[in-house]
Amino acid sequence: MKRGPGGLYATPAIVWLTVFFIAPLFIIVLYSFLRPGLRGGVEWSLTFDAYRAIANPTFAKVTLNTIVVALGATLVTLLIALPCGYYMARSKNQTLLLLLVIIPFWTNFLIRIYAWIAILGNEGFLNDMLQALGLTNDSIRFLYNRWAVALVLVYTYLPYAILPLFSTIDKFDFSLLEAARDLGASKFGAIRRVLMPNIKGGVLTAFLFTFIPIFGAYAVPLLVGGTESYMLGNLIADELTKSRNWPLASAISLVITLVTTIGVMLLVRANGANVLGGGKEASEAKAEQSAPLLNASLVALPHSGGGAS
């Protein structure tokens, strides 16, 4: 094949990904096979201690808790985002609504979490309101449990679910719903049988955009969670900063990255196969269908296991 200047155009991206994604990933892989240094860092001798340390019940418990919180929060996010996206797609004020969805991004992420603390705290706005209305005498402890974590996670990642859902539903041909109604489907039947199968790709993208960052969440469980809502992101951070066990932190990160990558690939493949079941002629459309999903997973991947968010 003739090589055009395409390779040249890709240089910035390749350099960027090499320096900031592939090289750090390589360092993490390397560190996970080394011994922990006394005050952090590593000693240069090969060992599998880190991977042996993973196989303990604490790690399993934290992983399970992370999966439960992440799946629950993602599901709730999608359930809220779907009607939102539908409404936006049908609205005449799309620009305004899009702006409203994006507005939270104008405030720093941490400040928004502290705002939730100010609302939900023992001396917070919500408790003040409830007491002023005489509904309760003592303040209720809303914060520092799994529910608070889930609530703030849903709040944080809702826009990431709404935007892909909106863009998919916006491309949906609504006369298909009329056709379904015309052919005897009820309102709900038309949505279930015609809308949902046609926006599957958007739902999957929204799922990945929310599930992957939530799975690696760190700040939210740290600030509004308690001991019961300790998540993998916190575990990594603690191993890194408190236990000073960098190899273990690296190993946990790698396991998460590996598991999410395999999970995403299986999901994309299953979806692609489902949407266009069989038929060689469909393969072109198939590639088109799964490309944005792959992109989505690539964009979302650096979040996973990083624990920075």
């Binding site: 041909d173 006369s175 298909l176 009329e178 056709a179 379904a180 109604r181 015309d182 052919l183 005897g184 489907a185 009820s186 039947g189 049988r193 015609v194 199968p197 046609n198 949407v275 266009l276 038929g279 002629e281 469909a282 459309a285």
Partner: protein, 368 residues
């Protein structure tokens, strides 16, 4: 399948300030191929969507076989729609698209299979059942949409500009197929189109609409030959439309005084009294054109002298724009016959004589 009669009574509908339908009443007979014809924005699609149940009118009633259907949702009406953009379900195969309504009714799979194959045969797509809509051509998609709408055995089939997305040749072909399907199953077809050629060629009757009103309902011949308003005359085919005031009335023969032509004789079954200002029309193909003054003693023949401004040759016919002495430009179409019948050639800037019979010219509208 048995068709239904559809009666639309005093239906009005507006979107904001825009009156889409203004007190529309139409009676459509059982088994008729009925067209709603008009320019875009005339309300024809809105009317179809009201019959289908996608829109509710502000006032009026829609009766199917004498039964008011306005309270019913779209899935409760014996009418099915063929949508303008086909609206095929992209995630389903051709077979599954056609089977959609049967499967909703939870019919046994064997029966579904048999019926779907029967309807795929009707539209000659029996070998395309496993394809996805994206793999079909425009004409094939159209036929899937028709099969999908017909399998429900509706008593009325609503077609919303079903051929507008097809190219001209395919449109002709599909039109003939549509007509054949109509003849075969005999249900009522209500066909929305902005294309007067389509409407003329397949309809039993046509309702010409403009600005939310029905201007004329009639057979294609009635609408073409005797348009009820200036708009209908101009919208259907090509015509010459002029104004004048009535000089004298003699039975059905009306003499009109007009600035451009002097006096012209036209016919009307129920002419208004002399002195009334009216518009009148004559179709371009009803006018004879020749280099010499026709030597005829026939009564009620209009003779007009002019000069050819622009001849437009298009193979089987030539259209002449002829400027008359009075300053008007008349459109004249001469059909080309075989050599023995062709007559002398007429060229640009030739002095010519035009003639048309009063029986081919009609009084259209009374002007205020």
């Amino acid at each position: 399948m048995i068709g239904s009669d559809v009666v639309i009574e005093n239906v009005s509908k507006s979107f904001g300030d825009f009156a889409a339908l203004n007190d529309v009443s139409i009676g459509i007979k059982k088994g008729e191929f009925f067209s709603l014809l008009g320019p875009s924005g005339c309300g024809k699609t809105t009317l179809l969507r009201i019959i289908a149940g996608f829109e509710q009118p502000e006032s009026g009633t829609v009766l199917l076989d004498g039964k008011d259907v306005l309270p019913l949702p779209p899935d409760g009406r014996k009418a099915n729609t063929v949508f303008q953009n086909y609206a095929l379900f992209p995630h389903l195969t051709v077979f599954e698209n056609v089977a959609f309504s049967l499967r909703l009714k939870k019919q046994p799979e064997a029966a579904v299979r048999e019926r779907v194959n029967e309807y795929l045969r009707l539209v000659e797509l029996q070998t395309h059942g496993s394809k996805k809509p994206a793999q079909l051509s425009g004409g094939q998609k159209q036929r899937v949409a028709i099969a999908r709408a017909l399998i429900n055995e509706p008593s009325v089939l609503l077609l919303d500009e079903p051929l507008s997305a097809l190219d001209a040749k395919l449109r002709q072909h599909m039109l003939i197929e549509l007509d054949a399907i109509h003849d075969k199953i005999g249900i009522t077809f209500i066909y929305v189109t902005h294309d007067q050629q389509e409407a003329l060629s397949v309809s039993d009757r046509i309702a010409v609409m403009n600005a939310g009103k029905v201007l004329q309902v009639g057979t294609p011949q009635e609408i073409y030959e005797a348009p009820a308003t200036d708009f209908v005359a101009k919208f259907i085919g090509e015509t010459n439309l002029y104004e004048g005031s009535i000089l004298s009335v003699n039975g059905e023969l009306v003499t009109i005084e007009s600035a451009e032509f002097g006096s012209v004789q036209v016919t009307d079954t129920d002419p208004p009294p002399s002195g009334t200002r009216v518009s009148w029309t004559v179709r371009p193909e009803k006018i004879r054109i020749g280099p010499d003054k026709p030597s005829t003693s026939r009564n009620a023949l209009n003779l007009i002298q002019g000069r050819v401004d622009e001849p437009i040759y298009s193979g089987f016919q030539t259209k002449f724009y002829v400027k008359t002495a009075g300053g008007a430009t008349l459109k004249v179409i001469k059909q080309h016959a075989d050599w023995s019948d062709e007559g002398p050639e007429i060229a640009w800037k030739d002095e010519v004589w035009l003639s048309f019979s009063a029986e081919d010219a009609f009084l259209v509208e009374v002007k205020g």
